[in-house]
C-alpha cells in the first residue's frame, strides 16, 4: 500500500517538475525565437515558436544601429571583473583577520559587520551618490568599482569559513618563522579555493546584473554597463521587439556561459548564504 502510494507520488512529482521546467523555459525560448524573426513576423503574431523565416539580421542590426554595444560590453567586463577580483582579496583578508588574528578592535569590527548586514542598503544610495559627486567620481569606473570593492556579506562568509578551517598548517608555518603576511597568500588562500570560487561567481553575476547603482552613477552613454545600455536601447527602439530581444539575448550570453561552467560553485555559494542563519 505504502509502496504504491510512494510510486504514485513520484509520478506526480515528475509531472509537476516537467511542467514547471517548461514554464521556466518558455519565456527564454519565446525571446530567443523573437530574436531570429524578421519584424513582419513579429507583428503578424500567430504564436509560432519556430521562426518561419529565421534570420540573423537582428543581431547584425543591433550593432549597426547602436555602435556602443561593444563599448557597453567592455565596460561591463571591466567593472564586473575588477569588482570581483578586488572583493576576493579584500573580503578574504578581512575575514581571515576577523577569525584568526587577535588585535584590539577585532570584536568591534565584527560587530560593525553585523550592523551593516542588518541595515537595508537602500539607505546608503543617496549619501553614496553625494560622496561620489564630491570626489568627482560620478560617471567613472572608480565611482562604480570603489564603493563595491568590499562586501560585508562575503566578509562574514569568509570569517565563518576560516573559523571552521583547521589551524594546523598555519601553526606549522608560523613555527617555521613565516609571518601572517606570508602565511596568508602562500598557505591560506590556496586552501580557501572552494569558498573563493563560490564568492567569485556570486560577485561577478551580482555586479554584471546590477542595475540601480550604475543607473545612479553613470549617465554618459559611453560609460553605460550592458543593463543600462539595454534599457536605453529599449527606449529608442520600443516597437522593434526583434532587436530588443536580440540585444537581450546577447547580454545574457556571457552569464549563461559562466553559469554553465561554474554552476557547481554558484550552488555551493547559495547554499552557504542559506546556512548563514
Amino acid at each position: 500500500m505504502q509502496i504504491f502510494q510512494q510510486k504514485q507520488l513520484k509520478v506526480i512529482a515528475y509531472i509537476f517538475l516537467v511542467i514547471y521546467a517548461v514554464i521556466t523555459l518558455i519565456p527564454f525560448m519565446w525571446a530567443l525565437s523573437a530574436s531570429f524573426k524578421p519584424l513582419g513576423e513579429i507583428i503578424s503574431q500567430p504564436a509560432n515558436f519556430l521562426p518561419h523565416h529565421p534570420t540573423l539580421e537582428n543581431y547584425q542590426q543591433i550593432f549597426q544601429r547602436q555602435p556602443l554595444f561593444a563599448r557597453w560590453l567592455g565596460n561591463s567586463v571591466v567593472i564586473a571583473t575588477s569588482i570581483t577580483l578586488l572583493n576576493l582579496v579584500f573580503n578574504s583578508m578581512a575575514g581571515y583577520a576577523l577569525s584568526r588574528l587577535k588585535f584590539p578592535g577585532n570584536r568591534s569590527c565584527f560587530f560593525l559587520i553585523l550592523v551593516i548586514l542588518a541595515v537595508p542598503l537602500q539607505i546608503t544610495l543617496i549619501p553614496t551618490f553625494l560622496i561620489l559627486k564630491t570626489l568627482g567620481w560620478l560617471n567613472s569606473y572608480a565611482g562604480i568599482i570603489v564603493p563595491s570593492m568590499a562586501n560585508a556579506t562575503f566578509i562574514f562568509m569568509m570569517r565563518q569559513f576560516f573559523c571552521n578551517f583547521p589551524r594546523e598548517l598555519e601553526e606549522a608555518a608560523a613555527l617555521d618563522g613565516l609571518s601572517s603576511l606570508e602565511i596568508f597568500p602562500q598557505i591560506v588562500l590556496p586552501l580557501a579555493q572552494p569558498a573563493l570560487a563560490a564568492q567569485a561567481v556570486l560577485l561577478f553575476m551580482g555586479s554584471w546584473n546590477n542595475f540601480l547603482f550604475p543607473l545612479m552613477v553613470l549617465f554618459d552613454p559611453e560609460m553605460f554597463t550592458l543593463p543600462l545600455g539595454l534599457n536605453s536601447f529599449k527606449g529608442e527602439y520600443i516597437s522593434y521587439w526583434n532587436y530588443i530581444m536580440a540585444a537581450a539575448m546577447m547580454l545574457n550570453l556571457p552569464i549563461l556561459l559562466i553559469y554553465a561552467l561554474f554552476n557547481r560553485y554558484l550552488i555551493q555559494g547559495m547554499t552557504f548564504v542559506g546556512n548563514k542563519e
Binding site: T24, A97, C109, A118, M216, A248, M270, T271
Partner: protein, 304 residues
C-alpha cells in the same frame, strides 16, 4: 629578578605590536571601503533626512528637523508607493516561499534528472533583471504570448503594461517565477541535510509519507524557512529594477508600479530633493528592520 622579567617581556610585546600591525593591514582595505561607502552613508542618510539640501552653487544644508518626515506622511505619492510595495510583499513572499518549498521537495524526491532539473529551474535566477523584464514586456505585450495563450483557453486578455489594474500583478508573476528557484536551492540543501536515519526510524514505527513530511521534514526546515522569509521580505521591499524598466522610470501606468525605492530615485534625479529622498529611504529602512525584527520574534516565540 625584575630585569629578567623585562628581558622576557620585551620581545613578546614587540611581537604583539607586529602582529597587530599585520592584522590592521588585513582589515584596512575593507574597513576603508565599508567605512566610507556604507557606515558613513548610513549616518549621513539620517543627517540628510533632517535637512533641506540645496544642490546649486555649492551644496548647502538647511536644518528643518522632522519636516521631511511629517511631509512624507501626507505625501500622496508616498502613500501610493507604500501601498504598492506592501501589496507586492504580501503577495510575493508567501507565494514564492511555498513554491520554492514544493519545488525543492519534488526535486529532492527525483531519482534521475535532479541535476538537469536544478540547472533548468535556476536559469531565471542567474539572468539579469533587465533581460527578464524585457522578455516579460514582450510576453505581456497587448498582442503578446500571454494574451494569446489566455485567449486560446477562453480567458479575458489584458493590456498588461498599460492597465493600472494589472501592471503590478504582471511584475509579481514575473518575480515569483524568477526568485522561487533561488529559495528552492536553499530548501534543497536543507532537505538533503536531514539525517536519513530519522525517516527510516519513522518508517519502522509505521509512519506514512505525510506523517513523515509533517513530523520530520517541516520541523527541520524551520530555520531555513525563517531565513527564506526574511530574505524574501527584505528583497521584495526593495523592488526597483522591474518597475523602473517596465514604466520607463515613471512608475506608471497611473502610479500602478510606483515603489518606495523608485520614489527615492525620482526624489533624487527628477526633483533634486536629496533630503526628502533620504527621509523616504530612512523610513523604508526602518520599516524593513521593524518587520524583520517582528519576524524574528514570532519565529523565536513559536519555538518555545
Amino acid at each position: 629578578m625584575p630585569t629578567n622579567f623585562l628581558f622576557l617581556e620585551k620581545p613578546k610585546a614587540r611581537l604583539k605590536i607586529r602582529q597587530n600591525f599585520y592584522a590592521y593591514i588585513f582589515v584596512l582595505p575593507a574597513a576603508l571601503v565599508l567605512g566610507s561607502f556604507v557606515l558613513l552613508p548610513i549616518v549621513d542618510a539620517i543627517f540628510l533626512s533632517l535637512h533641506k539640501v540645496q544642490l546649486f552653487g555649492g551644496i548647502r544644508y538647511d536644518f528643518i528637523g522632522l519636516h521631511n518626515f511629517s511631509y512624507l506622511i501626507q505625501d500622496q505619492q508616498v502613500g501610493i508607493a507604500f501601498r504598492n510595495t506592501a501589496q507586492y510583499v504580501v503577495m510575493v513572499v508567501p507565494t514564492q516561499t511555498i513554491l520554492a518549498l514544493i519545488l525543492a521537495v519534488t526535486l529532492n524526491s527525483a531519482i534521475w534528472g535532479q541535476k538537469l532539473g536544478l540547472m533548468t529551474l535556476f536559469l531565471p535566477t542567474v539572468t539579469s533583471s533587465t533581460v527578464l523584464t524585457l522578455i516579460f514586456m514582450w510576453i505581456y505585450h497587448p498582442q503578446g504570448l500571454l494574451n494569446h495563450l489566455l485567449a486560446t483557453i477562453g480567458l479575458p486578455t489584458y493590456n498588461w503594461l498599460g492597465d493600472p489594474g494589472v501592471a503590478l500583478k504582471g511584475i509579481m508573476m514575473m518575480n515569483i517565477w524568477s526568485t522561487a528557484p533561488l529559495y528552492m536551492i536553499i530548501y534543497l540543501a536543507a532537505l538533503q541535510s536531514i539525517p536519513q536515519m530519522l525517516y527510516e526510524a519513522a518508517e519502522l514505527d509505521g509512519a506514512n509519507i505525510w506523517e513523515k513530511f509533517w513530523h520530520i521534514t517541516i520541523p527541520h526546515l524551520r530555520p531555513v524557512t525563517f531565513f527564506v522569509l526574511a530574505m524574501g521580505i527584505i528583497g521584495t521591499f526593495q523592488l526597483f529594477d522591474q518597475s523602473y524598466i517596465f514604466s520607463g522610470g515613471t512608475g506608471g501606468p497611473n502610479n500602478a508600479t510606483l515603489t518606495l525605492v523608485l520614489l527615492i530615485y525620482q526624489a533624487v534625479f527628477q526633483n533634486l530633493q536629496m533630503g526628502y529622498g533620504a527621509a523616504i529611504a530612512c523610513s523604508l529602512g526602518l520599516i524593513i528592520m521593524v518587520i524583520t525584527y517582528l519576524h524574528r520574534l514570532i519565529f523565536e516565540d513559536e519555538k518555545v
